[in-house]
C-alpha cells in the first residue's frame, strides 16, 4: 500500500483531522487526513484506492475497536471527522464516476421516536465503509421509507429506535418494505432491539454495534 494512503488510514483510525488539530496529542503538528488526501491526489493516487485502503480501512479498524469497547464515542467521532475531511476531497470523484459507492442505504429513526445520535453514528460507519447513506432523519414513518426506496433504489434500509414503545413501529415498516420491495434488506438497531425481535418482525439483520451492521451489508450485498 502506498505510504501516504497508509498514513491516511492511520489518521482516520486515530482521529487526526488536519495539521491544526491538537488531537491526538502525540500527532500534534503533523499533517492529518485532510492534507494527506490532497497530497495523495496531487501525486496521482487513485481516489478509489484512497477511499478503499485509506478511509474504509481506517474506519474498519475503528469499528472493530469500538465493537470491543477498546475505544469510545469521542474517539469514533474524531475518526469520523477525519474521514469526512478526507471524503470532502474524494466526493467529486463519486460524481465523475471515478469512485463508486458499494451501494445505497436509507437510514432513519422510526415514527414516534426523535432520538438521533445512534442513527447518526451508524450512518458515519456506513459512509466510512463506502456506502451512500440517505438519512431520513427522525420520526420517519412507513410512507417516508417507501417513498425514499422508490426515489433512491437502495439495496438496504436501516431502522433505529430508542424506546420499547417506538420499536413496535419497526414491524409495520419492515413488513411494508418486504412486501413491496422483497429484495431490499432491512437492518434494525437500537437499545431495546434483540435478535429475537428481528426474527419476530421479519427483518434481515440486527446488530448491537455499527460494525456488525456494516459487515452484514458488505457480506450480503457487495
Amino acid at each position: 500500500m502506498n505510504a501516504i494512503v497508509r498514513e491516511i488510514a492511520v489518521c482516520v483510525e486515530r482521529g487526526k483531522v488536519d495539521a491544526k488539530s491538537p488531537h491526538p496529542p502525540d500527532l500534534k503538528g503533523r499533517e492529518g487526513a485532510d492534507e494527506l488526501t490532497v497530497k495523495a491526489l496531487h501525486f496521482g493516487q487513485s481516489p478509489q484506492i484512497i477511499l478503499t485502503e485509506g478511509l474504509i480501512a481506517g474506519m474498519g479498524v475503528v469499528g472493530e475497536k469500538f465493537r470491543r469497547n477498546e475505544i469510545y464515542l469521542p474517539d469514533v467521532l474524531m475518526s469520523a471527522r477525519a474521514m469526512t475531511a478526507a471524503m470532502n476531497h474524494i466526493r467529486p470523484y463519486f460524481l465523475s464516476g471515478d469512485v463508486q459507492h458499494k451501494g445505497k442505504i436509507v437510514l432513519g429513526t422510526v415514527q414516534g421516536d426523535l432520538h438521533d445520535i445512534g442513527k447518526k453514528i451508524v450512518g458515519m460507519f456506513f459512509e466510512g465503509g463506502g456506502w451512500n447513506v440517505i438519512d431520513l432523519g427522525v420520526d420517519a414513518g412507513m410512507e417516508k421509507y417507501l417513498a425514499a426506496i422508490d426515489e433512491h433504489n437502495p439495496e438496504a434500509v436501516g431502522l433505529s429506535a430508542l424506546l420499547t414503545t417506538t420499536m413496535v413501529n419497526m414491524e409495520k415498516i419492515t413488513r411494508a418494505v418486504k412486501k413491496k420491495y422483497p429484495n431490499v434488506k432491512v437492518l434494525i438497531g437500537g437499545a431495546p432491539i434483540t435478535e429475537e425481535y428481528k426474527n419476530k418482525i421479519g427483518a434481515d439483520a440486527y446488530s448491537p454495534d455499527p460494525q456488525g451492521a456494516l459487515e452484514f451489508l458488505n457480506s450480503t450485498l457487495v
Binding site: 469521542p74 426523535l114 420499547t164 448491537p208
Partner: protein, 367 residues
C-alpha cells in the same frame, strides 16, 4: 403480610445514608408521563398520588429547583405542529420534543454553542454569580418543601449534573468531539457549571431547607457502553461530580445518582465520587446489581435493576419468576437495596401488572 414499624424516611435513610439493611427493602419507581393517564383508563383512582396508591418511599420535592442555563427563563418556541414543539433553550440550542405527556428524548436540531470562543464571549459570564431569578418561584418551593417534609417519605431535591447539562448546551456531537479536541474548554465549562450548581444548591439548602437527600441525574452510558472511556471520565467529569457530592455531604445529606446505560466500566470511579446510592442499573445494558454490589462492598446502596422488559410482558408468572429469586438473592447477600425497575414504567405495563409487582414486593421485601 406483616406491617412494618419503620416509615419510608427511616427505611430509605438506613439504606442510602447508612448502607445497612433495615427491616425491609425500599420501594420506588419512575413512571413515564403518559402511564398514569393510561392506568386511569384501567381503573386507577384519579384523586390519589402514586405514592399513596403504591407506597413509594421517596418523594422528589415538587417544583423546579433552579435553571442552570446562562439565560434562565428564555426558552422560546420557534416552531410547532400538531405533535411536536421546537424550541430554543437558554443555551441557544434548538430542540424538538413531543407535545403533551408523550415520552421520548428530544431531537437535537441546532446548537449555537460550538466553540470555546462563543462560550467565552456569550455564555460563560452569566453563569458566574448567584442569581435568585434562576429559581422559578422561591415561595412555592418553600411551601412545597415544608409540605413534603411533613410526610413520612424520604424527600429529595433533584437536579441534572454536568454531563447532561453539557449535552443540553453543546449537543452530543460537539460535546463528545470537544472532549478529545478541546479538553481545556470542557474543563472550564464543567468547572463553571459545577460552581453554579454548588452556589444555587447551597442557597436552596440554606434558605429553603434541607431535605433528606439530593438526587442527581447524569446519563453516562447507552446500551453497549459508557459514552466516554474510564480515563476520560476520570479526567473530565469525575472531579466535578465529586465536588458537588462533597458539598452535599458537607450538609450531612446523602446523594442518589441516576445513570442509564452500561456504566460498569466507570463504576469504580463513580463510587469514588462519593455517591451513596446508584440508580437505575439497566439490565438490557448488561448491568447486574449482584455483581456491582459484590464489587462495591457496601460502600453504596442500590436502586433498580428490575428488568423493564419483564414488566412489559404483563405476564404475572414471568414477573414472579424473574423478580422473586432476585429479591431473595439481594436479601441473602444483605445488599442495601431499593426495589425499582431498571429505568421507568411505560404505559405498556398494565396497571394489574404493577399492582401485582407491588404485592409481590411486599411478600419478599423483608431482610
Amino acid at each position: 403480610m406483616e406491617p412494618f414499624s419503620a416509615n419510608s424516611r427511616e427505611i430509605i435513610t438506613a439504606i442510602v445514608r447508612d448502607k445497612v439493611c433495615p427491616e425491609r427493602m425500599g420501594f420506588q419507581e419512575a413512571f413515564w408521563q403518559d402511564t398514569r393517564r393510561e392506568w386511569e383508563n384501567q381503573g386507577l383512582p384519579c384523586d390519589k398520588s402514586l405514592h399513596e396508591l403504591f407506597g413509594l418511599d421517596i418523594l422528589e420535592i415538587p417544583g423546579n429547583m433552579f435553571d442552570t442555563s446562562p439565560f434562565p427563563g428564555t426558552r422560546r418556541i420557534v416552531d410547532e405542529d400538531e405533535e411536536t414543539v421546537t424550541y430554543r433553550n437558554g443555551w441557544g440550542a434548538v430542540l424538538r420534543e413531543w407535545k403533551a405527556d408523550r415520552p421520548g428524548v428530544p431531537e437535537h436540531i441546532d446548537f449555537e454553542l460550538t466553540s470555546p470562543r462563543i462560550w467565552r464571549e456569550k455564555y460563560r459570564e452569566p453563569l458566574l454569580g448567584l442569581d435568585l431569578n434562576r429559581f422559578e418561584n422561591v415561595e412555592d418551593l418553600k411551601r412545597s418543601y415544608r409540605k413534603s417534609m411533613e410526610s413520612d417519605l424520604f424527600c429529595v431535591y433533584h437536579n441534572i449534573h454536568v454531563y447532561e447539562l453539557m449535552r443540553t448546551a453543546l449537543g452530543d456531537i460537539i460535546m463528545l468531539e470537544s472532549m478529545c479536541a478541546e479538553p481545556e474548554w470542557i474543563h472550564d465549562f464543567c468547572g463553571v457549571i459545577t460552581d453554579n450548581i454548588i452556589r444555587h444548591l447551597s442557597w436552596a439548602l440554606d434558605n429553603i431547607g434541607r431535605p433528606d437527600g439530593v438526587w442527581f441525574y447524569d446519563d453516562l452510558g447507552y446500551c453497549q457502553a459508557s459514552f466516554v472511556s474510564p480515563e476520560l471520565y476520570r479526567n473530565l467529569i469525575f472531579p466535578y461530580h465529586k465536588r458537588v457530592f462533597d458539598v452535599v455531604h458537607d450538609y450531612g445529606l446523602p446523594v442518589i445518582f441516576h445513570s442509564c446505560g452500561r456504566i460498569r466500566p466507570l463504576f469504580e470511579a463513580i463510587v469514588e465520587t462519593g455517591i451513596d446510592c446508584l440508580q437505575a442499573i439497566e439490565v438490557k445494558a448488561g448491568q447486574d446489581v449482584l455483581e456491582m454490589a459484590e464489587f462495591a462492598k457496601n460502600r453504596i446502596a442500590f436502586m433498580g435493576n428490575m428488568d423493564i422488559r419483564i414488566f412489559e410482558t404483563n405476564d404475572l408468572a414471568a414477573v414472579d419468576a424473574a423478580f422473586i429469586p432476585r429479591l431473595n438473592q439481594i436479601r441473602d447477600k444483605r445488599i442495601p437495596y431499593i426495589f425499582h425497575s431498571d429505568h421507568s414504567i411505560p404505559k405498556s405495563v398494565r396497571l394489574e401488572t404493577y399492582r401485582h409487582v407491588r404485592h409481590m414486593f411486599l411478600s419478599h421485601c423483608r431482610y
